[in-house]
């Protein structure tokens, strides 16, 4: 039983946490692709940038002596998201919009976004240096343990306080996005533009406004994902750059342009990664006695070593693209 709790802590909680981060990042990637038809490579760095906004704000709050039961990183999150959304709109106005106005092709915009990646990372290193930081320098990271009332169970179900907030906030964000896309006039306009940009324009949909709203949502969610990732682990300048590839894999697996696909893809890849690096011999140990004599349980029995975790996303990506070239939710094939 202890071994199953270990499995639960490692895989279920770990997968949900990782899946939430991937899903929030992939929603932004997929929305930007749906509206502007280019792969926004700098999305990971927008996440990191948002995390640094939150970090600075948290420092200010701590400096002012504001202490609440909520971890300060989550307290400042709404403000950081607003700043990050404004920054995302600014980046679009400054770098991508002028290119679009000249009729740049998607590949040009992709290259431009690689430039934005380097710019954001450079700026972060310039202002904050390269060291690893933590949101929990001045306050403790709450740990929640649930002891199960079964005989012989000594290991509790355990997770951290930020992980609870992370999963709850992701759920709220996903529901809010769903309501926005299906109920509001602008949200429907966004779907219309992703579906058929020419017809959206002919219908009189304000495409400039839709583009702006897309960046606001993508930037806000990126900040949320980056901050929560930094709260779960630590904050460093290449925080989310390291996970941009699984995020893209999640968006593509879900079907590019499909917001729900991005959510599904994010959790699929999140859980697949934690399952793949899990040490399965832990689960075999309870059956030690019923296994044949010649079978010796190895010390480590994981499908993939954690250093190669990234390959999992690509195996899933390749398999999904072979079976369903447009992704699970039938997105754009380009």
């Amino acid at each position: 039983m202890n071994d199953f709790i270990f499995f639960f802590n490692q895989v279920i909680i770990g997968g949900a946490v990782l899946g939430s981060i991937y899903a929030l990042g992939a929603i932004g990637v997929t929305l930007i692709f749906g509206i502007l038809r280019f792969a926004h490579f700098a999305h990971g760095d927008m996440m990191t940038m948002g995390a640094f906004f939150a970090f600075v704000l948290a420092g200010l709050f701590a400096g002012m002596g504001i202490v609440t039961p909520v971890p300060t990183g989550f307290l400042v999150l709404p403000i950081a998201m607003v700043i990050a959304a404004a920054a995302a709109v600014g980046i679009d106005k400054g770098f991508y919009a002028p290119l679009r106005a000249r009729g740049a092709r998607p590949v040009t915009l992709l290259i431009a976004s690689i430039g934005v990646t380097m710019m954001i990372q450079g700026l972060i290193r310039l202002f904050f240096g390269v060291e690893t930081r933590t949101f929990f320098a001045t306050e403790p990271k709450g740990l929640i343990r649930i002891e199960l009332p079964f005989e012989g169970v000594t290991r509790p179900i355990s997770f951290t306080e930020p992980q609870v907030y992370l999963i709850v906030l992701t759920l709220i964000a996903v529901v809010a996005l769903h309501v926005f896309l299906t109920r509001s006039r602008l949200g429907k306009g966004m779907r219309a533009m992703a579906d058929n940009p020419d017809l959206a324009q002919v219908s009189g949909i304000n495409t400039r406004l839709v583009v702006r709203v897309t960046w606001i949502i993508a930037g806000g969610l990126a900040c949320m994902a980056g901050t929560m990732l930094a709260l779960d682990v630590t904050l460093k300048p290449d925080l989310a750059f390291n996970i941009i590839l699984p995020i893209f894999a999640a968006a593509i697996v879900g079907g590019l342009g499909q917001a729900y696909g991005a959510i599904a893809g994010g959790f699929l890849i999140g859980f697949a990664e934690t399952l793949a690096v899990f040490n399965w011999s832990v689960l075999l140990r309870p059956f030690r006695d019923s296994l044949p004599e010649w079978f010796e349980i190895p010390g480590s029995l994981s499908l993939v070593q954690s250093e190669y975790k990234l390959t999992v996303a690509f195996i899933i990506l390749v398999v999904v693209l072979l079976v369903r070239p447009t992704g699970i939710f039938k997105g754009a094939s380009t």
Partner: protein, 234 residues
């Protein structure tokens, strides 16, 4: 005062012009039909009015306002509406949502207009929750026309609304065009089924090689032996 007027319009996609001095004039009470052989510039004429390509000389006037080379999203609030020939519905959205998108520019209550459109096309009311991509060609055309009517246009432009439709749907679409016109909406449409369309047109324009060849009432064009021989298949 004419509703829309094209005066000596030359237009193209950057290369050689496709329109070489087209003149068209439509009143709010008119059903204007543009006919002509392939490549005559029929669809291009509609696109030039709607600012979807560059007018290099000549003027487009709508209700006494010069709208030459205006952006499409500025024209809809003025009262122009356009149904493209292809890809004219949002396939991943429901019929109802398609209609709502047609009313995107409106901030007032759209339920009356929705009721009108559903009354006009009862098929759509039954399928209002279905994705437009799942509908038949004729029903899609109804969604496309309904969408265009949701902005309460003064001028409705249709690019080959009967293309690829069965005769039953073609007749239904044409009947609705006449009804829409009777409510005071000017119509300008391009049609391949020239005989049927000219039958109810108050104004007909025969284009060839990007220029006006014949202009008259629908009946005049049908009766003209030259038009009949060259453009209506004898």
């Amino acid at each position: 005062m004419s509703l829309v007027e094209l005066r000596d319009v030359t237009a193209g996609y950057g290369g050689a012009p496709i329109l070489n001095g087209v003149n068209i004039e439509i009143d709010a009470s008119d059903i204007g039909v543009i006919v002509g052989p392939n490549g005559a510039g029929k669809s291009t004429t509609l696109k030039a009015i709607f600012g979807l390509l560059t007018v290099t000389s000549g003027t487009v006037t709508f209700a006494d306002k010069n709208i030459t080379n205006s952006d499409a999203d500025r024209l809809v609030p003025l009262g122009l509406s356009f149904v493209p020939q292809e890809h004219n519905v949002f396939t991943s959205m429901s019929v109802h949502e398609n209609l709502e998108m047609g009313a995107f520019i409106r901030r007032d209550d759209i339920s009356d207009t929705l009721d009108e459109v559903y009354e006009m096309f009862p098929d759509l009311k039954a399928k209002r929750r279905q994705h437009a991509g799942e509908l038949s060609g004729g029903q899609r055309q109804m969604v496309a026309m309904g969408r265009a009517l949701m902005s309460k246009p003064k001028l409705l432009m249709l690019d080959e609304p009967s293309a690829g439709l069965s005769p039953r749907y073609m007749m239904e679409i044409f009947e609705q065009v006449v009804k829409i016109n009777a409510r005071g909406v000017g119509i300008l449409m391009v049609e391949q089924n020239a005989r049927q369309a000219l039958g109810f047109a108050t104004k007909g324009f025969v284009l060839a090689n990007g220029q006006n060849r014949f202009t008259g009432t629908g009946q005049q064009l049908l009766d003209d032996p030259d038009v009949a021989k060259s453009f209506l298949g004898g």
